[in-house]
Amino acid sequence: MSDALGDLEAGAGRIRLPSTRRRGRPSSLLVLAAAIPTILILLPIIYVVLRSWNAGWYAIAAELARPRTALLFWNTTVLTVSVTVLSAIIGFAGAWLTERCDLPGRAIWRVALSLPLAMPAFVASFAWKSMGSEFQGLTGAVLILTLESFPLIYLPVAAALRSMDPAMEEVSRSLGRSPRYTFLAVVVPRALPALGGGALLVAAHMLSEFGALALLRVQTLTTAIFQQYELQFDNATAAVLSALLMLLCLPVVLAEIRLRHGHRVSKVGRNTARQRALVPLGRYAFPAILGLVALTILSLGIPFGRLGYWLLVGLSAGRGLDTLGPALGGSISLAIAGTLVTTIVALPLVLLALKSGGIFARIADRLPYVVHGLPGLVVALALVYFAIRLFPPLYQTAWVLFAAYAILFLPLAQSAIRASAELVPRELEEVARTLGRGPLKAFASVTLPALAPGLGAALALVALELMRELTATLILAPTGVSTLATEVWSHTNDGAYAAAAPFAALLVLISGVPVYLFTRRTLIPRRG
């Protein structure tokens, strides 16, 4: 596909490049296009390094040696590892049940297991916290965040389990292997890349989570960074903690690379809906359903119930309702435009990484994941810093905000696009070329349609995140622009929960749109 893009651009420029360039170096236009996201990603890194540097080595060392830093590091690690592992277990089990077992009502359970994706963690946390102090603290946070994070693993694993060619398992069984051995030796390894990709996202979310943890009174590196900036601005401590946070992202990124290593499975044609024998649950059917019911109540029922409760009893109900329209408009317009920018910027990164195994391409491809664990606040401040110094006319225009969105959510778009891009054989487009299609037409008629599912998933996922993004939006949005998320934040800040409830409910509802589009793609069985 990288050839394709290169050819596309070359075609647009009316320069005909020799078509023998296959598997050679990627076109310089593609490299140039991939340089844009790379430069963007470097901005927060440079900012953090600059600010830490200003503090001096002594201050950095002193900061790292504080017992509090160790505590924050420990809390962050425990939270990230626990939520990721628990989400992986729940997500995998759910996917196994809905895709491979004769569970009654599988179509409904697929929806129920995907929908928590639409529930912002801070809304769920608020609901839980308001029911009692026992849900606060690290243990409560692990449980509550797991309940809203597992769909990030459930969805890709469910898709992987479905699209797996049953032939592999049939071969294993025909060679006399037991179902259990087949499961462990054939199914699990082939689902691991999907699981790893999902786990990476969950881990990165945990590293950068703020709203939910502030409500649940858990102190992590990210909440400490927010605290530092609330206490003082030009803050070396916050910079050092941010650097530490990025270091924490590294093992997560490396682990995911290892998981994906060697898994390039290209296939011609779409998966056919081959009937596969479902595993009979037998006497386990009842406990399985009970577990899923409990999961649905905990992840969806309680947060929604709580929103409804505040709406009914709170005396501030209806306050500020006139801003509902502008906030909805702000959310939708920022999310759609930001999503497009993020996805377009991500595309060349993915194509370059697939085309070239070179060191630049690999670093450029992975760098966004390292920054993905940074809180939006740090990215926003970095952009304030650079925009004011380098591009003052752009400052406080939506463009700087879009740049922040791209920096924060590139990995979501990358993962989704890559999932499709990896499946497209490089030869496919060349076949089209030999059949007489021009480079532009070959790209448009062969590669682009093949990428469409990935692009669609990327758009949906990024849109979902952008709708609930708060801190970067608060700092960078043009003055006077509000979104549903910023309104929820403002009202809950004033203790006006009933006033916040309609905004929160609407936020969950419109988040349902990308979730629907995304899950439709992954979860509705295709007909051959």
Binding site: S133, E230, Q232, L315, S333, T339, P392, T397, P453
Partner: protein, 340 residues
């Protein structure tokens, strides 16, 4: 099939996004009858004042909401390029910090005359608009008012273990630390913080601490007065499990702090910005503000509709906003105590 739907979704969102772009790439610069307000104060009073101001003058106000300290930092970072015309801060230290960087223009003498000189900057770079008060919020069913101590300093003891909620992030809490350091010495302030660290419960904000007390999680919260009133507005004052207690007697447990505003030197529309701040301390403006939040008006002769403890009965700690300065020392103390 669904492929078509998705493609249509992409097309539609693309068209929608492009259609919306032109409206959003326009920078929000103050021009003509429009000013940009960076607001760190709670929204209800700000929105009430802005509505009254626009009605009275025809000048429109674009509001950027945020946390006061963060907005101050943003203004400092923006420097001479700041799009802001007016900065309204929830706490005076953020105004002091901005003024120290030389970013605030002097206010009109006529404006400054409207409130007592002790509530504004000596150099006239910012003015106090409302006063708020540090109080003790207690849960009536968990503790008797008579059992509350004579000084806020007493809470930092083992006998109060697990019973006192406080918010180290809160700007007002930092001012309380400053007040203790000014009145009782730095060592006392540090020992107090270490005691709270060991025996108190930290919350992310004053309002979260007050809610925890109201919900019966623990009996005591150190908070600003209006968080209790905001909750009472939500739940209904008669249904509240918690109440406000004023220590008084000049104890730092009762500390009066101010929210206020300044005009930026770099304001594109300085005249309109000055008129906004003047309106803020006018009789009409002050009434609009105190109708919307349980804070004390600083202009004499204005009456709050909230059942506040009368301002002259507070008997607060004898510390002025000027003495509190930018409260930078409080951060050092918080860090030394391991709370930040």
């Amino acid at each position: 099939m669904y492929d078509v739907t998705r493609r249509r979704f992409i097309q539609l969102s693309g068209a929608g996004g492009l259609a919306l772009l032109p409206g959003m790439i326009r920078p929000a610069r103050a021009a003509g009858g429009r000013i940009a307000l960076y607001n760190g104060q709670h929204r209800p009073p700000v929105e009430a004042l802005v509505a009254a101001f626009t009605k009275a003058t025809g000048i429109e106000v674009a509001i950027r909401h945020g946390n006061s300290a963060q907005l101050a930092s943003q203004i400092v970072e923006e420097g001479a390029n700041s799009p802001a015309d007016v900065f309204w801060s929830e706490e005076s230290p953020s105004l002091v910090a901005t003024a120290r960087k030389g970013l605030l223009a002097p206010l009109l003498p006529d404006t400054l005359k409207q409130v007592g000189a002790e509530w504004s900057a000596k150099d006239g770079s910012w003015i106090g608009a409302t006063a708020r008060c540090r109080v003790i919020v207690y849960n009536k069913s968990m503790i008797e008012e008579a059992a509350l101590p004579a000084s806020v300093l007493d809470f930092a003891a083992e006998s109060w273990k697990g019973k006192v909620a406080f918010a180290p992030n809160s700007g007002a809490f930092q001012q309380q630390i400053m007040a203790i350091a000014i009145l009782k010495g730095r060592d006392t302030a540090l020992a107090w913080l270490k005691g709270l660290r060991d025996y108190g419960e930290t919350y992310n904000s004053d309002s979260a601490a007050v809610e925890a007390v109201e919900g019966g999680d623990l009996p005591i919260a150190l908070s600003n007065n209006y968080y209790w009133y905001a909750l009472a507005r939500e739940i209904g004052a008669a249904d509240m499990n918690s109440a406000i207690y004023n220590i008084g007697r000049g104890d730092p447990g009762t500390l009066v702090t101010v929210s206020g505003a300044g005009v930026l030197k770099s304001a594109k529309n300085a005249e309109a910005a000055q008129s906004f701040v003047a309106f803020m301390v006018s009789a009409e403006g002050q009434q609009a503000i105190v109708d919307a939040i349980a804070e004390y008006p600083l202009r004499p002769g204005i009456v709050s509709p909230f059942p506040l403890t009368p301002f002259d009965k507070l008997d607060p700690a004898p510390v002025t906003p000027d003495q509190l300065g930018d409260a930078e020392e409080a951060l050092t103390l918080l860090r030394e105590a391991g709370l930040a």
